[in-house]
Symmetry: C2
Subunit: 478 residues, 2 copies
C-alpha cells in the first residue's frame, strides 16, 4: 500500500521550515530515518519517502554510509584573484615579528580562528591514534625509547613507500628519510642545495612559514608569477633561470598554500624536464596532496624525475596529526647528505610518533579516513566561499581551490589587509594578511582564510569581516 | 643464643668461592638474605651474620634499599690522559662519512657496543614511561594532537623551571624553550649567534656530533686546551679571544663527552664574567649534569650569568629517554630569536613526548630514578676502568670522570685509533676513534669507550681490545 502523499509531504515541509529558519544549516547532518521516525511517530517508510522528496527538491543530500545532510546550495561564485606579477629582482624576506604574533593568536581560544591554516582537529582520527598509542606503549617495552637515527623507522618508511604508486612514484623504503614534519624536510633540502645568499625561485604567493625558513637561512627569493589554478608560470620560470643563477626551485605542487593551485600532470612533467635541462634541483612540497576534492589523487613532479633532482617533501600533519610532527623526504641524489644534515640538526625524529603513524597507516583505516576528510574539507571550503560571496563587498575575488582547506581572497577597493587584520583582531577575529606571503609585498590587499572549520561563530565572523570591509570602503551594504 | 661461627663461616666461604669462580661478578647483586636462607636451609639470622662477615672482609657491600652486591675492588688506576694542546688556528671540521658509518654500526645488535655513547636502556624508566604514555593517550582526547608551537608545552617548562634551583638558576617557565633534543638546542643557539665563517671557541676534545653541527653550519672552530678534570683552560681562552674574533664559546660544563671533565664552580663564575667582559655568548651544554657520582649536583655557568649571554642547553635523552627527543634551552637575551628559528626549522616539538616527560617529572619519581641511575653509572664506569687497566698495555692512560658514562683512553705506543677501530670491527667490537673529536686531529691515539653497559661480552671485548693492542705493539702480555 503506497504511503499517502499528505503524510510525507507534511514531514518534508516541516523539515524544510527547520532548514529555512536555520535550525539545520547547510552542511548539517539531519537525524537518521530511524530517529526521525521515532521523533515524529510515523513509519520508517514515510520518513524515507519524505527524505526522497527533499532530496529531489535539492534541499538535502544523501551521502553513502554517512546519512542525510542539508545541501549546500550552488551559488554564483566570486571571480578568482588576479595572477601575481611580482618584480623580477631577487629579495630577502621580512616580517617575522608579525608571524610570531599571529602564531600565538592562533592558539588563543578566545579568538575566532580564520587566520592560521590549522587542520580541523575534529576531522582527524585522534581517537584511533590514541588507542594505537596506548596499545603500543603497553606492548612495546624498550622499543619506543631507542633512537631511530636517520633515515628513521623502517616500518614507517615501508608504509610510505607502499603508497607512493598513488602519486606516480615507486619508492622503496630506502628512498625515504623521516623528518620532524614537512617544515624540517624543506629546511633540510634548502640547506643541502643552497648556501647563504643563493637565489631560490618560488611561487608567488608562497606559504609564509617557508619564506621565514628561507630568511633564516640567508637565502634570497625570486618570485615567479603563479596562476591560481595551474601554478607556477613556466615561461616566466624559464626566463628567470636565464637571467639569474637560480640554485633551487621551491613549489607546492598540489594545493598551494594560500593559492589553492594544482599543477596539471603535463606541466609537472615539463617542470621536471626543465629542472633536468638546467640541472636545478626542485624542492616539491606535497603536504596537501591527499586533500583533493576531485576523484583522483594528483600526481607529483617527482613522478617525472629521471635525474634524481626532485626532493619530494611531505608530512602527516594535515591529514593525521599536526602534533606528532612526522614528515618525510624522498631526496633522490641528495639522500645521504640530507641524512647527515638531519643528524646534525636534531639527531633523530622521536620514535614513538613514528611507530604510531606506521601502525595507523598499516591498520588504522587511513584511506577510509581520507575519503571522509576530503568530503568534509570540500564542504567547508564551499561553505566559506559562499559566506565570503554573501557577506563581502561585491568586488571581492576569491580562489577556487580543488583541494586543501584555505581560501585566498583579494579584497575590494585596494583595502590594505593589515588594516583589516587590526580591526578584525579588535573584534576577536584572526585572519592572515597577504603581506606575509611575498617578500616583495605583492599581496597587501589579499587575505588568507582558513576553511578547515565551519561553525556558526565562523559564519558570524565572516559576516563581521564583511561589515568591516563595507565600513572601510565607506559604502552601504547593498 | 649466638649463632655458631662454623655455620655462618661455611656460608660465607661458599659465597666467596662463587665470587672467585665468577658465578657472581663484581657489581652483581647476590640473593637477598631471605632467599639465601631458603636456598641454604638455614635461618635468616645465620645468613645475615654471614653477609656481615663478607661485608667486613670487603667482599660484598650493602646498598640501602637495594640489597647486597659483590664489591668492586679498589685498584691502582691508570694515569690520566695528557692535557690537549691543539693548534691556535681556526679550522673547518671533516670526517662526516666515518661518523655516519659509526652511527649505523651503533644499532647493529651483532656488534659489541663500546663505541656510541648511548645510555643503558635497562637503566631507563621505560616501563613507567610506557605506563604514563598509555594513560595519557587514553585520557588526553585531542590534546596530544594539537601543535605546541615554540616555546612549547607550558607544564613541561614549569617542571624544568622548578628544578632549576638545583644547578644555581631560578628560571620561570617563560625562560625555557622546548627543543627536539639537546642537539637541536645547540644548533639553534649556534645559528642565532653565528654566521657561516664565524669562529667558535670549543673544548678540545669536543663531542663529534657537535663538531658536525658546526661543520654543517659552515662555522670554524678554535680548539682551546682542556684539562681532563676541570675543563677548558681559561688563560688559553682569554688569549684566543684577544687573537681572534670569537663569536661564541661552546662548552660541556659538566662531564664533557668524551673527556669527563667538570668545570669547578669558581671557574664557572670566572667563565661567565669573561663572557660578559668580552660580550661573547656562551653555549653551555649540560645534558649530563644530572649524572654526577659525588654527593652534589654540579652548578652551571648559567648560574653566574648576569648579562643574559649564557644559553643553557639540556635534554632528557641521557637520563629519561633518548628517543622521546625532548630537550630545552634557557637562552637569556636570545630567547625570542631562538623561538623564531625553532619555528622555521620544524615548527614545533611533538606534543605527546612533551606531555610524557612533564608527567614523569611531576609524578614519576624522577629523583628516585636519578639516584639509582647515578649509582649504576658510577659502578659501570669503575668496572670498565678496571678492565682497561687489567687488559690494556701498561702505558695506556684513562680519564677519571666524576659523572656521565664515557671513558677517554689514550692508547699506548702512539697507536693510531683508526687502525684499532678497523681491527676491532673485524672482531665485531665498536669503539669511537679519537679522530672524530677534533677538527685538527689532535687525538689520533685516543679512543672513547661507552661505559653505560657492563656485561660479560663487554668485558670479553675489552680483553680482546687489549690483545689487539698488544699485538699491534708487537709485545707479549706481561
Amino acid at each position: 500500500m503506497p504511503i499517502p502523499a499528505y503524510l510525507y509531504d507534511k514531514i518534508a515541509s516541516s523539515i524544510t521550515k527547520l532548514i529555512e529558519e536555520g535550525t539545520y544549516r547547510p552542511g548539517d547532518r539531519i537525524p537518521s530515518i530511524r530517529k526521525m521516525s521515532k521523533q515524529q511517530g510515523v513509519s520508517v517508510s514515510t520518513i524515507l519517502q519524505a527524505y526522497l522528496v527533499l532530496e529531489n527538491r535539492g534541499i538535502i543530500e544523501a551521502r553513502p554510509q554517512a546519512g542525510y545532510f542539508v545541501r549546500i546550495p550552488e551559488f554564483d561564485r566570486l571571480p578568482e584573484p588576479e595572477r601575481s606579477s611580482p618584480s623580477a629582482d631577487p629579495s630577502h624576506v621580512g616580517l617575522h615579528q608579525l608571524m610570531m604574533i599571529m602564531l600565538r593568536d592562533a592558539l588563543d581560544p578566545n579568538l575566532v580562528q580564520l587566520g592560521a591554516a590549522m587542520p580541523n582537529i575534529e576531522f582527524l582520527p585522534t581517537k584511533r591514534l590514541n588507542r594505537i598509542t596506548s596499545r603500543l606503549a603497553r606492548q612495546s617495552g624498550e622499543e619506543a625509547h631507542q633512537y631511530e637515527i636517520p633515515p628513521g623507522l623502517k616500518e614507517l618508511r615501508l608504509q610510505i613507500a607502499k603508497r607512493s604508486l598513488r602519486y606516480g612514484c615507486h619508492f622503496s623504503p630506502d628512498d625515504i628519510i623521516i623528518t620532524s614534519g614537512g617544515v624540517e624536510a624543506i629546511d633540510l633540502c634548502l640547506n643541502t642545495v643552497c648556501n647563504p645568499g643563493d637565489i631560490v625561485a618560488i611561487e608567488s604567493p608562497m606559504y609564509f612559514g617557508t619564506l621565514q625558513t628561507l630568511e633564516v637561512r640567508g637565502l634570497r627569493t625570486l618570485e615567479i608569477p603563479t596562476h591560481q589554478r595551474d601554478g607556477m608560470d613556466l615561461d616566466a620560470l624559464r626566463f628567470a633561470i636565464k637571467q639569474n643563477k637560480i640554485k633551487a626551485i621551491l613549489v607546492i605542487s598540489n594545493f598551494n598554500n594560500p593559492l589553492g593551485s594544482c599543477i596539471p600532470d603535463e606541466k609537472k612533467k615539463e617542470l621536471a624536464a626543465l629542472a633536468a635541462t638546467y640541472q636545478i634541483p626542485i624542492i616539491e612540497n606535497d603536504v596537501s596532496g591527499e586533500l583533493y576534492f576531485a576523484d583522483k589523487r594528483p600526481s607529483t613532479i617527482k613522478a617525472y624525475d629521471e635525474a634524481g633532482l626532485v626532493m619530494l617533501c611531505s608530512s602527516f600533519s594535515k591529514d593525521i596529526s599536526p602534533a606528532l610532527r612526522v614528515g618525510w623526504v624522498a631526496a633522490g641524489q641528495y639522500k645521504s647528505e640530507i641524512e647527515w644534515r638531519k643528524f646534525t640538526a636534531n639527531a633523530a625524529t622521536a620514535t614513538l610518533p613514528q611507530m604510531v603513524i606506521a601502525e595507523f597507516l598499516e591498520s588504522g583505516g587511513y584511506d577510509y579516513h581520507l575519503r571522509q576528510l576530503r568530503r568534509e574539507y570540500a564542504r567547508n571550503v564551499k561553505l566559506l566561499s559562499q559566506a565570503v560571496k554573501n557577506y563581502f563587498p561585491p568586488e571581492t575575488r576569491v580562489s577556487r581551490p580543488t583541494g586543501g582547506f584555505v581560501l585566498w581572497v583579494q579584497l575590494p577597493g585596494k583595502i590594505d589587509a593589515l588594516d583589516l587584520y587590526k580591526v578584525a583582531l579588535e573584534n576577536d577575529i584572526t585572519i592572515t594578511p597577504g603581506h606575509l606571503f611575498s617578500p616583495t609585498n605583492q599581496f597587501s590587499n589579499f587575505i588568507r582564510l582558513n576553511a578547515a572549520v565551519w561553525t556558526l561563530p565562523i559564519e558570524r565572523a565572516v559576516e563581521k569581516l564583511g561589515e568591516i570591509l563595507y565600513g572601510m570602503m565607506g559604502i552601504e551594504r547593498g
